[in-house]
């Protein structure tokens, strides 16, 4: 346990020293501001772009507050996810290339404590980014478009965050045996494949973590009454996926020979 605490402190220090704890939350806040703003000013933007027929401008209907908030969370699923994966891609492989792995691995420390500390750092980064980002997005949506239920926003953000955490855990797993950019590519590829499969076969795969973004949007727009047992299935499978990723990453890191 003591090892895990020390490694967590080291990971937090690294988040601060590499400026990740500064620039990634700023990016999330910018994304959170931009979505409600573009929704609100969409008629102006269309008018300024010139070649939009007036009939189309007339028919533009402002999406509701809940839909706008769901779109803002959707931004975190694309741009935000990309940034988080790129930031986490070197977390295990970087230790090998920078040479710190040799220094650590010759000591009697358990692999799981190293990997778990890295995962905790990723979780803290995600919580900070999503907390600030979603709060600002909800504030702007409330100011510009309409009232939101704070409770629903918090739960919907949590559900969305779990999906992002799944992909971060996959990134950690891939970075245990692949070079950073390849690990990021594989993690994004599996995220895309999961979501794609999920949109093709929504009825069969409603229990997978990839359905979490849809549940998050549904919770915002339709309220908590419409949520069924499928959400529970998704939450459980997401938890299992994360645990498997952490265990897998620590097994691979422990076994694999170091690359020169």
């Amino acid at each position: 346990m003591r090892g895990m605490w020390i490694f967590s402190q080291k990971e937090m220090l690294e988040l601060v020293r590499s400026y990740k704890l500064a620039w990634i939350p700023v990016v999330f806040i910018i994304l959170g501001i931009m979505q409600p703003l573009t929704t609100y000013y969409m008629p102006e933007i269309l008018k300024a772009s010139g070649n939009v027929p007036p009939a189309l401008l007339e028919s533009y209907e402002m999406p509701g507050a809940a839909a706008t908030m769901a779109q803002a969370l959707g931004q975190y699923g694309t741009m935000g996810l990309l940034v988080l994966v790129l930031a986490g891609m070197n977390s295990l492989s970087g230790e090998r290339y920078s040479g710190t792995a040799e220094l650590v691995l010759v000591r009697p420390v358990s692999m799981i404590s190293i990997v778990f500390a890295k995962w905790v750092a990723q979780l803290i980064l995600l919580a900070v980014c999503l907390g600030f980002g979603a709060a600002v997005a909800a504030y702007y949506t409330g100011q510009l478009i309409g009232d939101l239920s704070w409770m629903l926003v918090i739960f919907a953000t949590g559900i969305y965050g779990l999906w992002l955490l799944c992909i971060q855990s996959l990134t950690l797993l891939f970075s245990a045996f692949l070079r950073g950019p390849v690990a990021a590519f594989m993690a994004l590829l599996s995220a895309a494949a999961l979501s794609l499969l999920n949109s093709f076969l929504p009825n069969w795969l409603e229990w997978t973590p990839a359905s979490l973004p849809a549940y998050s949007a549904q919770l915002l727009t339709e309220g908590s009454k419409s949520m069924g047992s499928a959400l529970t299935g998704s939450l459980v499978s997401a938890g299992l996926l994360i645990i498997l990723c952490i265990i897998g990453a620590s097994l691979i890191t422990g076994r694999k020979k170091l690359i020169d």
Binding site: S18, I30, I33, L86
Partner: protein, 63 residues
């Protein structure tokens, strides 16, 4: 909606400037980057949010 509500827009601009300033600060402190440093200064100042993200993801050697 005729006039732009600046009280809602300035935080967005301020955050973009903040992002570029964090980038420039880290650029000053770091010893080596991928690609020439002057180019990253240019990208950070004129590259908007995408430029700043590009610097943090690809420019820094110790990401």
């Amino acid at each position: 909606m005729d006039e732009i509500n600046w009280s809602l827009l300035w935080p967005l601009l301020a955050l973009q400037v903040l992002l570029a300033v964090i980038g420039l600060f880290s650029l000053r402190r770091t010893e080596a980057t991928r690609g020439p440093k002057w180019l990253w200064v240019f990208i950070l100042i004129f590259g908007n949010i995408i430029g700043s993200i590009a610097y943090f993801v690809f420019g820094r050697k110790d990401i």
